[in-house]
């Protein structure tokens, strides 16, 4: 029997299960299919800080949320329409997030007395009516998977492991997803274990046909491809895009990439990714700690490499002394801070924007450092290239301030034309620049105030640099009071001058009659944009602007702020950008802050916007 197919414009699905259930993989596959199908999409993985907390416990629950649609979307969605719960813990941990009437697909095999009590369910929620606001689809995922794999010589335990593929098959049917990608993927992944490969394929197909045949699902759904700009797309996470952006920066600048890094969540994947691209001449050095990581990157930069270090907040704290040295000796360096929940160890796998003031001020002395912040997963690529541009042109360390949500979240990426990327070629200094034929390592370019970059191996330009104050021009040690004052101001002027070299702050104000501006930075771009849309769809007027450069600010920032009656600055911290804006422009911006380790929800922000708009 063929079932009815119903049209939808958007769906939010959340896969949830044990850390060992392979939910991230399942989500990734569904995402790949969905991208290939041509929907717009946005994803949000959410996993615990432990590797594999004991099976069936709440701390062990790992989830993956996907939002896909037939139109452009900006967030992974607020309340899921569908929850796939592989066990009671997964149900309990996620059910409260669902919208009323959502579909819940549960793996009944796991709803044993033991598992239920483990998470504090007195009675089974499947029977006690507590789920009546939802449409519950009980499915014996494990046992059906085992049955489906009976034919293959795979142990029962391994067979059961394929249940996530059964679930994927079922959901793929339910939303009419293409399947080639997944079949290829499984073949590749288990190339060395053909039996396992076959088994997973069988589980996947069993899930699909179960959907076709079971009563439990009377209809399947279709979400038409979205109209998107023509071109080649791929799905990309922020960390992957960032790694690609760094490799691109290396190519465009002509400088070999040297990464000095120490693993830390959520930044480690950048190290992992870069370590795979040795044929791009990428050197990855897993250091003994964060200080050695940035130290090695700085040493490589002294030698003419593109020095990069990647970390998260606690690592930035440790690197701060070395960043001060980089500021003092004026060498290019790219420092990627993938922010996570703080303070201290905090919430390693959760997202937050609370390192802004640390990267802005966390060094002894007057030590200004430019800051670039990506706004979406794919945008990490461009942000990385921009950081490389500023670092190499101005001979300065530069921060790329990403966060856990961008790092692990993903979206379709319209691949750029490589030929169209900016030319960042760097000219090393090869000849003396002094009046008397000597080399003056701190004689600056009058326009950029950048100092010459002469690398070891260049005859005649031998010189010594260090962290003690240097005489303007010669760079020799100088304790002269006036010289110190001059150097401090020169270093500041150099960074401030970058404002002339970046695009002005763009404002999106279609109606032109908005009295309220909402200004954000970083990963809040999606939720803010979605909230702005809601307001506008309701006929409301609101202007939106988003800062890519947090230091220095674009030259028109103050003017933009003053153009509006009220400025709302939503942040996943206690108001760090707001404080910089207030100090610089004396504008009484309105703050809206949440520090929940989670991205904002569009609905919530829309509510806040409404209040601000109506508040007069």
């Amino acid at each position: 029997m063929t079932k009815q197919v119903r049209q939808l414009d958007r769906v939010v699905i959340r896969f949830a299960g044990d850390s060992g259930d392979g939910m991230q993989l399942t989500g990734d596959r569904f995402t790949a299919e969905t991208g290939a199908f041509g929907n717009d999409l946005s994803t949000l993985p959410d996993f615990p800080a432990e590797i594999r907390a004991p099976a069936g416990t709440l701390p062990g629950v790992s989830a993956f949320q996907l939002h896909f649609s037939d139109h452009e979307i900006l967030t992974p969605g607020d309340a899921p329409d569908v929850l796939v719960a592989m066990n009671p813990a997964a149900l309990k941990a996620n059910v409260r997030d669902l919208r009323k009437g959502a579909d819940i697909i549960v793996n009944t095999d796991e709803f044993t007395k033991r598992n239920l009590t483990k998470v504090g369910y007195a009675a089974s929620p499947l029977d006690d009516g507590s789920l009546e606001e939802y449409r519950v689809h009980p499915v014996a995922l494990t046992s059906m998977t085992i049955t489906a794999l009976a034919a293959y010589d795979i142990g029962k335990k391994d067979a059961g492991r394929a249940k996530n593929m059964f679930a994927l098959g079922l959901l793929s049917w339910l939303y009419n997803r293409p399947t080639e990608g997944t079949l290829e993927f499984l073949a590749k992944k288990f190339a060395k274990q053909p039996e396992i490969a076959k088994g997973n394929v069988a589980a996947f197909q069993a899930g699909w046909s179960f959907g076709e045949t079971t009563e439990s699902f009377s209809v399947s759904y279709e979400v038409k491809p979205a109209v998107m700009r023509p071109g080649t797309y791929r799905n990309v996470s922020g960390n992957l895009a960032l790694a690609y952006g760094l490799i691109a920066g290396s190519r465009l600048s002509g400088l070999p990439l040297f990464l000095g890094s120490y693993p830390i969540t959520p930044a480690s994947d950048i190290l992992h990714e870069l370590s795979r691209h040795k044929r791009f001449g990428v050197r990855t050095f897993q250091a003994e700690d964060e200080i050695a990581g940035i130290g090695a990157a700085l040493g490589a930069a002294f030698g003419g490499a593109l020095g990069v270090t990647t970390t998260s907040g606690p690592g930035v704290a440790l690197k701060s002394e070395t960043i001060g040295l980089a500021v003092s000796i004026e060498l290019p360096l790219v420092i990627c801070d993938i922010q996570r929940g703080g303070p201290s160890t905090g919430l390693p796998t959760k997202t937050e924007q609370s390192d802004l003031l640390q990267v802005m001020f966390g060094r002894n002395g007057e030590a200004p450092v430019p800051i670039v912040a990506p706004r979406s997963p794919a945008d990490c690529f461009d942000a990385a290239i921009e950081a490389v541009r500023i670092a190499t042109k101005y001979r300065t360390p530069v921060f790329v301030l990403s966060d856990g949500y961008l790092a692990n979240g993903s979206e379709p990426w319209l691949l750029p034309d490589v030929g169209g990327l900016p030319d960042l070629r760097v000219e090393f200094t090869t000849a003396p620049n002094g009046p008397d034929g000597e080399f003056l390592p701190f004689r600056r370019d009058p326009e950029t105030l950048a100092r010459p970059w002469a690398v070891p191996g260049t005859p005649g330009l031998e010189h010594r640099i260090g962290g003690l104050e240097k005489a303007d021009g010669t760079g020799n040690i100088s304790y002269d009071p006036a010289n110190h004052d001059t150097m401090v101001r020169l270093r500041a002027a150099k960074i401030d001058g970058i404002a002339r070299d970046i695009p002005p702050l763009e404002v999106d104000d279609p109606s032109g009659r908005a009295g309220v501006l909402v200004l954000g930075w970083g990963s809040t771009y999606g939720p803010i944009g979605a909230a702005v849309r809601r307001i506008r769809d309701e006929g409301g007027a609101v202007a939106q602007a988003h800062l890519r450069h947090l230091h220095p600010f674009p030259t028109n920032t103050g003017e933009v702020l003053r153009r509006y009656d009220r400025v709302l600055v939503p942040e996943m911290n206690l108001g760090q950008l707001a404080m910089l804006l207030r100090a610089r422009y004396l504008v009484d911006v309105i703050t809206y802050n949440q520090v929940r380790g989670m991205p904002f929800q569009a609905a919530e922000l829309a509510g806040v916007l409404r209040d601000v708009i109506d508040s007069d």
């Binding site: 290939a36 050095f285 003994e288 050695a292």
Partner: protein
């Protein structure tokens, strides 16, 4: 594992200078600011006097230091140099040496810079065996901060920060380096120009990390720390000059001593004028495992005892930066140079329009 290029000589990849060089070529116009009488002057002179031997292009030599009196060293060398921050020179030099095989990279550090705040970077550099030469100026005191005790100061040391005497047992830098898997470990003395130079030579010829402890006198805050091995009257009695392949003998004529094995699996110093002379252990600096080298290092302790000097260990082991270079070359050889466009389109892609 890729082929470690064990065939490479220490300086094979560093371009040579055509001209003949002299010590003067390595002097800078910067006023040397150490205290008159400081042992650092002798070391600076020895290094400047030795480098011409290597005949390398000056521009391909880099000195990286941390912070301390000793760490001012790079300012006085007419090569490339970085006076970095306290304790971090080995890490910084690791990045430089790993990305630039055409450079001869030297690290200058002190007992505080290298063993106190920088101890971790030091031991990791040693185990990695990056192509670096590390010279640790050990004056058993913090000079630049005006005389606090250091990790090599003897127990009970009275200093500004320990008016009743220090309480912590000192490191033996040679033992520590051997325990940290160093492939080259040596000790020498600021005042013995010939020995110092011979050790610098051996270090320069070693491919990988060479660790050289240099006893250095701080005449302001710890004068005479190494008197026993400097004083002509006593020096021969306590100094054991290690020579590869030679039985370990020392002492003034008539008062010779030898180092021999003990039943307990160690070594000891005994009268070498008698029958024991025949039992002298033959020193092997190239032994695969540093068992003897370590045992010998224990003959010296911070408070004196016997002091072996010379090269304790010198073995060939894969070098970190060579291995990395090979991985890159191999990757490029097998899959061709990276193509940006190809990289971006790797993985699942789809076309719209």
């Amino acid at each position: 594992m890729t082929d470690p290029q064990l065939h490479l000589g220490a300086l094979d990849l560093v371009p040579k200078s055509g001209e003949k060089q002299t010590a003067k070529d390595f002097k800078t116009d910067q006023e040397v600011r150490w205290c008159p009488g400081c042992g650092d002057y002798a070391i600076l002179a020895a290094v400047q006097g030795f480098l011409p031997e290597l005949g390398l292009r000056r521009e391909n030599i880099v000195f990286v230091s941390g912070i301390g009196c000793s760490s001012r060293f790079p300012y006085y060398m007419n090569t490339y140099g970085m006076h970095s921050i306290h304790g971090r020179a080995p890490a910084i030099a690791t990045g430089l040496a790993t990305s630039r095989p055409d450079l001869s990279v030297w690290v200058i550090t002190g007992d505080g810079d290298g063993l106190s705040i920088g101890g971790n970077h030091l031991i990791h550099a040693l185990r990695r065996n990056v192509n670096l030469k590390i010279l640790l100026f050990n004056n058993r005191i913090y000079g630049l901060t005006k005389g606090q005790y250091s990790p090599t100061s003897e127990l009970g040391k009275v200093t500004k920060s320990t008016p009743l005497g220090s309480l912590d047992y000192p490191f033996n830098p040679v033992s520590l380096a051997l325990g940290a898997e160093a492939s080259f470990v040596a000790r020498t003395v600021d005042s013995d120009r010939r020995h110092l130079t011979s050790v610098l030579r051996a270090a320069a010829e070693h491919r990988g990390t060479a660790f050289v402890e240099i006893y250095q006198n701080c005449n302001i805050f710890n004068d005479g720390a190494f008197e026993a091995i400097k004083d002509p009257d006593t020096r021969e009695d306590v100094t054991i000059r290690l020579e590869h392949g030679e039985p370990i003998r020392f002492g003034r004529p008539g008062a010779e001593k030898v180092v021999r094995r003990t039943a307990g699996g160690g070594v000891e110093v005994v009268d070498g004028t008698g029958p024991a002379a025949a039992e002298a252990v033959v020193f092997d600096a190239h032994a695969a495992e540093p068992m003897l080298a370590f045992a010998l290092s224990r003959l010296a302790d911070a408070t004196g005892g016997y002091t072996p000097i010379g090269v304790f260990r010198d073995v060939v082991r894969p070098v970190y930066d060579d291995l990395m270079r090979e991985q890159l070359e191999r990757a490029e050889a097998t899959s061709g140079p990276g193509e940006l466009a190809e990289l971006l389109t790797s993985g699942d892609t789809w076309r719209i329009g």
